[in-house]
């Protein structure tokens, strides 16, 4: 018959193994990841101003054409200010929100294939940065 075991009487050992010096480099690894992500946000700014600029330009054109209309249009100088604000504070917004917001306001049609391409490129950038690919090389590819 097996003897009853009381776990309170067992030694509370930590027997899991970790690679040598694993904890020594931990802070550096995290700081590198944080700064790579921040740099990625900058890459986003470089890459996506074209969308924001196109949206701003179309919005401004619509406003210009309709500025003498008696009935106000949905695109106003305030909307243009909004576009500028979003563009300047791009980090504070989710990517999907930006696509959704820019597309209906400015009547810019971005096809599903193009969105997929953008998402894939973004995911690829993030993956490459996480894998330690030189940021300069990525910037050259833009």
């Amino acid at each position: 018959m097996s003897q009853k075991i009381n776990i309170e009487e067992l030694k509370r050992e930590n027997n899991f193994k970790v690679p040598a010096n694993y904890f020594d480099s931990f802070e550096n690894t995290i700081q590198e990841r944080i700064h790579a992500k921040e740099h990625k946000s900058i890459l986003f700014r470089f890459r996506y101003p074209s969308i924001a600029f196109a949206a701003s330009f179309i919005a401004f054109s619509v406003w210009l054409v309709n500025k003498n209309d008696a009935v106000p249009t949905s695109v106003t100088p305030a909307a243009i200010d909004y576009v500028s604000y979003v563009n300047e504070n791009i980090d504070e917004f989710e990517d999907e929100l930006i696509y959704d917001t820019y597309t209906p306001v400015a009547n810019v049609t971005v096809s599903a294939a193009e969105i997929k391409k953008i998402e894939n490129t973004e995911a690829l950038d993030e993956y490459l940065l996480d894998e330690g690919v030189d940021e300069e090389v990525l910037l050259d590819e833009l």
Binding site: I7, L10, V18
Partner: protein, 182 residues
Amino acid sequence: MGNWSDNEILDKFRNSETKNYGFNLLMQEYKQRVYWHVRRMVIDHDDANDITQDIFIKIWKGLDSFNEESKLYTWIYRIASNECITFLNKKKKMFFIPIINVEEQLSAHIDSNENFSGDEIQKKLQKAILTLPEKQRLVFNMKYYDDLKYEEIAEITGTSVGALKASYHLATKKIEEFLTKD
């Protein structure tokens, strides 16, 4: 390690000039506790490493909005616990693995000498812990290994102290039964 209080760490983090330094102090203070908490849940080092890194990235992003309604370490443990549960749920769903197979997979890691160095009774103890449902396992580990108080675990898990005591008692019984059988 241990020379800085949570308040001092938070003060450093909230000052833009010492933000990175403050976060490094936080990592020095908590990296091992978080890692071991995660490792006991996911068993494999590579998974524990990935999850622990993600946890500290989340802490970095969320620390500005930490409102000090709870203690810093209970907030960190809560993030870590949620990440572990999310990871284990994903592992089951994404690979369509029935629960029993995930347990077996984790159990196999304990048999590997690359992962675990304990004697037979320690191996069996870890395997017994793996038979518990995930949340019960979290509670058991925080009580048994991290020696947290029930009140602290209650703050982390959002469960009542009474329920936690019952959960720990049941977990202990199950583990002792597992250890006793051949």
